[in-house]
C-alpha cells in the first residue's frame, strides 16, 4: 500500500492550518502580551489564506485590511496603553488553567465527534471569477436594512468608545 502523493493545495492547506493552530496556541499561551499580539497577526493571515481556499477573495482581503490593519493595531495600542512603562515584562498570568484545559478539550472533543459523525451533504459550487459584485448587490439590495443598522451600530460604538475613554473632566 503506497502512500499517495498529496496534491499541492492539500499540502498548502494543512501547512496553513498548522500555522494558524500554532500561532493561535502561542496567542493563547504566551505570557508576553506583545508576543501574543504578534502571533495573532499570523493567525489572521492564515485565516485569510483559508478564505482563499474557500473561494472568498473579497472576505480574505477584508480580513487582511480590517483585522490586520485595524483591529490588531487597536489591540497593540491597548497593550501599550494598559501596561506601565516601568513594568518591563509585559506579561499576563493565567488562572483556572486546569479546569479551563479540561473543559475546552472536552468541548473540542465533542465538536470533533459531531463534525466527524455527521453525514454532510456537499454540493459543489462553481468557482467564481469575483465575489465583489455579488456581495455589493446583496449589501445594497437584500441586506440594505441590516447594512444601515450595522452602520449606525458602528457609529454608536465609535461615539461610545470616545465617550468611555476620554479624560474625565474635573467637577
Amino acid at each position: 500500500m503506497s502512500i499517495p502523493i498529496p496534491e499541492l493545495s492539500v499540502v498548502l492547506f494543512f501547512g496553513i492550518c498548522g500555522l494558524i493552530i500554532a500561532s493561535a496556541l502561542l496567542v493563547v499561551t504566551s505570557p508576553n502580551l506583545v508576543h501574543s499580539a504578534v502571533s495573532l497577526l499570523f493567525t489572521f493571515f492564515g485565516v485569510a489564506a483559508v478564505y482563499i481556499f474557500l473561494y472568498a477573495d473579497f472576505i480574505a482581503a477584508t480580513q487582511v485590511i480590517i483585522y490586520v490593519g485595524g483591529i490588531l493595531v487597536l489591540i497593540i495600542f491597548g497593550v501599550m496603553l494598559t501596561n506601565k512603562i516601568e513594568n518591563a515584562r509585559i506579561d499576563s498570568k493565567t488562572n483556572n488553567q486546569i479546569p479551563g484545559i479540561v473543559f475546552t478539550l472536552s468541548m473540542l472533543a465533542m465538536q470533533f465527534y459531531i463534525i466527524l459523525n455527521t453525514n454532510w451533504k456537499i454540493a459543489e459550487s462553481e468557482p467564481r471569477d469575483t465575489t465583489v459584485k455579488e456581495i455589493g448587490n446583496l449589501l445594497l439590495g437584500k441586506y440594505l436594512l441590516p447594512f444601515e443598522v450595522i452602520s449606525i451600530l458602528l457609529l454608536a460604538s465609535l461615539i461610545g468608545a470616545a465617550m468611555l475613554s476620554r479624560r474625565k473632566t474635573e467637577r
Binding site: 483585522y67 483591529i71 487597536l74 489591540i75 501596561n83 488562572n95 463534525i115 475613554s165
Partner: protein, 102 residues
Amino acid sequence: MNYIQPFLMLASILFCLGLYAVITRKNAVAILMGIELILNSANINFITFNRFGAYRTLDGHVFTIFVIVLAAAEAAVALAIIINLFKNIGTVDVDQAKEMKG
C-alpha cells in the same frame, strides 16, 4: 480540497483556543484576543457552509462582513472599557475587578 471536515475542524480548534484564552487569561487585552479568535472561527464556518452548501448566492459572505464590522466595533468599545478600567483600578487584570464579589 473537496472536504468540509478539515475546515470545520480548524474552526473548532480556533474556537476552543479562543475560549481557553477567554477563560484562563487574566489580562483583559488577552481576553479580547481570544474573542477575536472565536469570531474568526465563526467567520470560517460562515464561509465554509456558504462554499459547500447548495447556495447560489453569497449570503454567508455578507454575514461575515457584518461580523467583521461587529468585531471592529466590539474591539473599539472593549478597548475603551479596558482603558477606563486601567484608569480606575490601575490594572487590567480582570480578577482585580471584582467589585461584584458577594
